[in-house]
Subunit: 135 residues, 4 copies
């Protein structure tokens, strides 16, 4: 059995581009958000809070990126009655608010992207625009 398997890391060229595309989409939508990119271990790789975005959007957005990266799923999949229990179980890092997406390369999750601070459908659209920077 091998000791190691090949995987991928996200470059800072890519994380910066994701922030830029997210900001561009938010500006188009006249929304003010935080945007975060984390790696497969949930560590923050890139973050921006747009001028005027809510202070609390930093924490909420990092949780979106971290949840998507950990679970390999877009945020928002849990049943409402399970959410608080899951938040506590995962040491406060879990969120069920849409706007977080896993970053997948060759079938492996290599990170997560999240946007937060505007209306949920705007957060989702902004996070998707940021993710699409990788195409």
């Amino acid at each position: 059995m091998p000791n190691f398997v090949p995987t991928h890391r996200i470059t800072h060229e890519a994380t910066m581009l994701m922030l830029q595309r997210g900001i561009a989409k938010a500006t188009e939508l006249k929304a003010l958000v935080s945007i975060a990119v984390v790696d497969a271990s949930g560590q923050t790789l890139a973050f921006v809070r747009m001028d005027g975005a809510r202070l609390f959007s930093e924490a909420a957005t990092i949780k979106k990126a971290k949840t998507a990266s950990s679970q390999g799923l877009a945020t928002g999949y849990a049943k409402p009655e399970d959410v608080v229990s899951m938040q506590i179980r995962f040491d406060g890092h879990f969120t069920n608010v849409p706007g977080g997406f896993p970053i997948v390369v060759d079938g492996q999750v290599v990170g997560g992207i999240g946007a937060g601070g505007a209306k949920i459908e705007q957060d989702v659209e902004i996070a998707k625009a940021a993710l699409a920077a990788l195409d």
Copy 2:
């Protein structure tokens, strides 16, 4: 695009006056409260716990000021079923108890004021009296 946008900071003359007006209103109502003023980034600028006010009112009141400053809204706007989830999502800083108000100058949130420790309608009245010191 500009690198900076003009905004305002609250002076300590103003924060002290807010505490005084809040105390005066509380005294009139025979209520004992904590009163807190925070800046746009949630940092405490001025705080007082009235003699006899509950110990826990310090934490609860700072959360009111911080929530109002972050969200740009008077506290108490969330749906009851969302509150615990929001508290965890915002790392414990969020509160849904009325008695917190944003401080707005020229359409921009520059801070928040909160009062807590008495009956909710008293907290609200005291916080409003403190906020009115800025008029």
Copy 3:
């Protein structure tokens, strides 16, 4: 043996007056400081950060008031070689920087006052002016 002994609490009239006198002295000295008053249990009763005072002065000033209240001594009494060990031993609450004074009534420590963020001799003078509000 009695179950209780009489003591005193500091009123909010007194804590607010201490903040005001401290601010007045700081203004006279053209200094920008944080000022904190804590009770005998180290809990914050009143606090103000003057507009333009250093962000870190909040933490440092509360430690001055708390140390003076706990130890019943003006801050700055420890030998330099002992300071870091004492800081860790007292869970980070201890400081050896002058500018903190115990508040004493009838021979009992009932709290502490601290000022911080300017030159040490200014911090001391401001804290003394605040304390003198109680005379």
Copy 4:
């Protein structure tokens, strides 16, 4: 006496440009760093960790930006024998490692920029290049 004084906020156009210029300088120097921009109250506005930069550089770099913003000084000004005591006194947020600079507009500190994770002289050069994006 006024209730408010005019100041400035850093736009996200500016914080993103600072990250980009910092990355460009780091690439030129063949260095791998984290870069952080915080506001006047120490809140993170923008952050990037370059691919391959040390994990611990995130924490160290945010402390550089925060210290510069709080103290209004480039990091590295303290006497070596005072550093550990200051780190504890400022609740772990202080650093004395060069590579952090205050962001000043019209004579007022509106934030801080930090770079960390490479050789100190490289960190300094990268942070200066990022700061120069504002000229």
